[in-house]
């Protein structure tokens, strides 16, 4: 009996430590980002940094304005949501409520596979297929653009949106739908007027999750967006917050203002993600309270 207790305590302790590793990592990253992100912002000036329209980190007279990156990230994410959410949402409604079991199994397997494709593969396919296609269709000199990034991001966030929405829709009690049908509503009316409103917190969470995935993606967009620090425009080469950090980090020398400014960009991105996470938690919590 006593030995059992001891064993339980040890296991308990091990689990506690394992749990704390995550907390420790988050704390470490947060503290590290803040410590290394603040100096450059101080040196450049918060206003100049956030609202400066020009980024030329290696020029003779360096300029560190990240407004183009912020706007690109916001527009890119918004565009991806605009395309990805309707597709993902209706796909989820179909899979959860209309599709028969076999169809659902096949499509769900495909969605899971889509979720598992590494982002560099999305980037590669985007670079070799999507970019030339955009160049041909829209008759622009070069297809690498914000538009290409939006398409890639929209596809990348689809699995998240579909999976989370399906879970939310599946969780709607069958009695609600039965009651609606019994009152004479058609199945379509039932889905959109009963099931979807009942699952709206979960669906909102799915959208927020998609936003988080889109804004944090670096590799795939780096390969299709062109990476020039222009103010965003649909068919122009643009640079995202993530790619701004990723593309210059390798060559910036430690301790230089350039390197520090990259950390500051990472800090801004981190704050964006925190905000998105807080929103997500808000929706999920509301869901639970119901």
């Amino acid at each position: 009996m006593k030995r059992n207790r001891l064993f339980e305590n040890i296991v308990h302790g091990i689990f506690l430590i394992l749990g704390l590793i995550t907390v420790g990592c988050v704390l470490l990253i947060t503290v590290y980002l803040i410590i290394s992100g603040i100096p450059a912002i101080k040196e450049i000036g918060l206003f100049n940094f956030l609202f400066g329209k020009e980024w030329a980190s290696t020029a003779a007279e360096p300029k560190y304005g990240i407004l183009p990156f912020i706007l690109t990230s916001v527009y890119g994410t918004a565009g991806a949501i605009l395309i990805g959410v309707p597709i993902g949402f209706f796909a989820a409604v179909y899979l959860s409520k209309v599709a028969n079991k076999k169809v659902r199994a096949v499509i769900e397997a495909a969605v899971n596979l889509l979720a598992g494709i590494p982002s560099v593969v999305y980037g590669l396919v985007g670079m070799l297929v999507l970019v030339p296609v955009i160049r041909e269709i829209f008759n622009v000199p070069d297809g690498a653009s914000l538009f290409a990034a939006i398409i890639v991001l929209a596809i990348m966030i689809l699995p998240n949106i579909i999976k989370v929405s399906i879970t939310a829709l599946d969780a709607v009690p069958k009695e609600y739908e039965d009651a609606s049908l019994a009152l004479g509503a058609t199945p379509t009316e039932t889905f959109f007027k009963v099931s979807v409103p009942a699952a709206k917190s979960g669906i909102a969470a799915a959208v927020v999750l998609g936003v988080g995935r889109a804004i944090g993606e670096a590799m795939a967009v780096m390969m299709v967006a062109g990476n020039v620090a222009n103010m965003p425009s649909l068919f122009e080469s643009v640079r995202f917050l993530t790619t701004a950090v990723a593309s210059e980090m390798a060559y910036s020398s430690p301790g230089s203002l350039q390197r520090n400014a990259l950390f500051s960009i990472a800090l801004v991105l981190f704050l964006f993600i925190m905000l998105i996470n807080a929103t997500l938690n808000f929706f999920l919590k509301r869901d639970k309270e119901k």
């Binding site: 290696t58 670079m127 000199p141 070069d142 390798a250 020398s253």
Partner: protein, 266 residues
């Protein structure tokens, strides 16, 4: 709970600090050109494996590297340009380690096959915007380049004298990406280190000279620059630094130098 977290943080920080300054008795300090990162890194690694002597590399830029040798802050300075006369007059000596040849590449379907340096500079600064102005098809020129800080970009821009003036359409982060992009866009022009050019793109002749190891070595292909080892003329190097110097200028090092994408000089 708070105690545990703080304890953990302190331990992690301590471990980081300790590994950061692992003591090494013998070391060769090099300082200079950021573009030489790859070649010096590869040479230093091989040298360390052979002799156990570590080579440190401080990427500060050619000018800063030359100054560091002058002031005795490092053993060997690295410059990606020839020494100026006044620098030589100050008692410095340059030994060319390798040549960095940069190929100007276009899509294989592009009829243009020769440009001179002035035209290339005009294209990259946006003065010439259409291929028909240089004898090609009526298509907009799409400028493909590398990200800020890249050695190839720095090399290209310093040779063509277009620093900070290039109007890139795309800034890609690897040579492979540049080649792929140029290979898939008929209007594109890009640059890449000569060693990595593949058949999917066409390397232009510059002023009528084909880019090759020979033309780069004899200087007739102009889009190139030397990687120079800078030392003091009258002072002797430390034993380990001399060993490293001899090692990297020997024929045995040529393979490593070629592996880093540049043309060995010796």
């Amino acid at each position: 709970m708070k105690k545990i977290i703080s304890l953990l943080t302190v331990t992690i920080l301590l471990v980081c600090a300790l590994t950061g300054c692992g003591g090494n008795k013998e070391a060769v300090a090099t300082d200079g050109s950021t573009s030489m990162n790859k070649v010096i890194g590869a040479l230093g690694e091989a040298f360390e494996v052979d002799t156990g002597i570590t080579v440190t590399y401080n990427a500060t830029g050619s000018g800063a590297g030359i100054q560091a040798v002058q002031e005795g802050r490092c053993d060997i300075g690295l410059a990606s340009r020839n020494l100026k006369d006044e620098e030589k007059a100050n008692g410095l000596e340059g030994t060319i380690l390798a040549y960095d040849g940069i190929a100007i590449i276009v899509n294989p379907n592009n009829p243009v096959s020769d440009l001179d340096v002035e035209t290339i500079a005009k294209i990259y600064t946006g003065e010439i915007k259409n291929w028909k102005e240089v004898g090609g098809n009526d298509a907009e020129i799409v400028l493909i380049g590398r990200e800020a800080g890249s050695g190839t970009r720095d090399g290209f821009e310093s040779i063509t004298d277009t620093e900070d003036k290039c109007k890139y359409r795309q800034e890609l982060t690897s040579t492979g990406d540049v080649i792929t992009t140029v290979g898939s866009n008929p209007g594109a022009i890009g640059y890449a280190s000569l060693a990595s050019v593949k058949d999917t793109v066409k390397a232009l002749t510059v002023g009528g000279v084909v880019a090759s190891e020979e033309t780069i070595k004899d200087g007739s292909y102009v889009v190139q620059r030397p990687f120079v080892l800078v030392t003091k003329k009258d002072a002797t190097l430390s034993e380990s630094a001399q060993k490293f110097f001899d090692y990297i200028t020997s024929e045995a090092a040529n393979k490593i130098i070629s592996g880093a994408g540049v043309v060995p000089a010796n």
